[in-house]
């Protein structure tokens, strides 16, 4: 996948995360590619992870087969995009 496509995918993911998780006050521009999704980053929690799993399945047909994978996949928007690119 080209760099341009990766950038587009990351932007699309940010918009979908904001919409699916109802992150009021957040904009695509306010989410850095490598910003942590949890704790001091976007502040998501375990329920939000489940929403992200559904989001990836619904929009990209990509599933998390092994729950242990989740820790790496959901580190940031960049890691989510990389997982999607590698598996769809």
């Amino acid at each position: 996948m080209t760099t341009e496509n990766t950038t587009e995918l990351r932007q699309q993911l940010k918009a979908q995360i904001i919409q699916h998780l109802n992150l009021e006050g957040r904009t695509v521009e306010s989410i850095a590619d490598d910003m942590p999704l949890f704790d001091e980053g976007l502040g998501l929690d375990s329920i939000d992870v489940l929403e992200l799993i559904v989001l990836m399945d619904k929009h990209y047909g990509v599933r998390i087969a092994d729950p242990k994978q989740g820790r790496d996949v959901f580190q940031s928007v960049a890691s989510m995009a990389a997982h999607i690119e590698a598996n769809r």
Binding site: L21, N22, L23, E24, G43, D45, I47, D48, L50, E51, I53, V54, D57, K58
Partner: protein
């Protein structure tokens, strides 16, 4: 019962101890957000909570802010008694509609498909460790609420109860909360409380 700490939310009208903090707009969801904003409490999770949990958060949280009846109170001995008619039906119906529409259930909605989750969410927000009772009834029943408070105060080691009615379904939302202590029980005035809970 002039010192009774109480809050009320009726389709957008939000009052704390009788003082109006928010008025309705044309959107029930906006009304819930406006009522929460009126309290001035930062809670990133609020927009992602279901509407039942929002209603409990709105009416219960004012007791914990600076100057509130339970500010600085030990979190170990605060219990909850919440009564409502529809339980989690508001969220249940949305969850089912989403399943019917695209066969993708939202985990964020699923976790709220139990009537007592709003109490759990509220307890997490405020770090409460006390006992709680979630009751379903067609209308506010103050004698049942009192009985439940007595059980928690006398048999479960609680010394204050966040007690009230909270009900939301479709676009109708009503809630009335009060803080019940031994003093409240001693001062209990059924007629006055009926007015507070049912004066629409």
């Amino acid at each position: 019962m002039k010192d009774l700490a109480h809050t009320s939310y009726r389709n957008g009208h939000f009052t704390v101890n009788g003082k109006l903090l928010a008025e309705p707009t044309s959107s029930p969801d906006t009304d819930l957000n406006n009522a929460w904003s009126a309290l001035g409490i930062e809670l990133p999770r609020f927009p992602r909570m279901d509407r039942s949990s929002k209603l409990v958060a709105i009416c219960g949280s004012s007791f914990f802010i600076e100057g509130g009846a339970l500010a600085g109170h030990s979190k170990e001995t605060i219990g909850m008694v919440i009564m409502g008619k529809h339980g989690s039906m508001d969220t249940d119906s949305k969850y089912q509609a989403q399943l019917d529409a695209d066969n993708h259930a939202s985990p964020g909605q699923f976790v709220y498909t139990l009537p007592n989750i709003a109490m759990g969410e509220f307890s997490i927000q405020h770090g409460l460790y006390g006992s709680g009772l979630c009751l379903l009834n067609n209308a506010p029943d103050l004698s049942q609420m009192r009985e439940a408070c007595v059980i928690l105060l006398h048999d479960h080691g609680m010394d204050a109860i966040v007690c009230g009615w909270s009900d939301i379904f479709a676009d109708q939302a009503t809630a009335t909360f009060m803080v019940v202590t031994e003093r409240t029980l001693a001062d209990w005035n059924a007629a006055e409380l009926e007015k507070i809970f049912n004066d629409h």
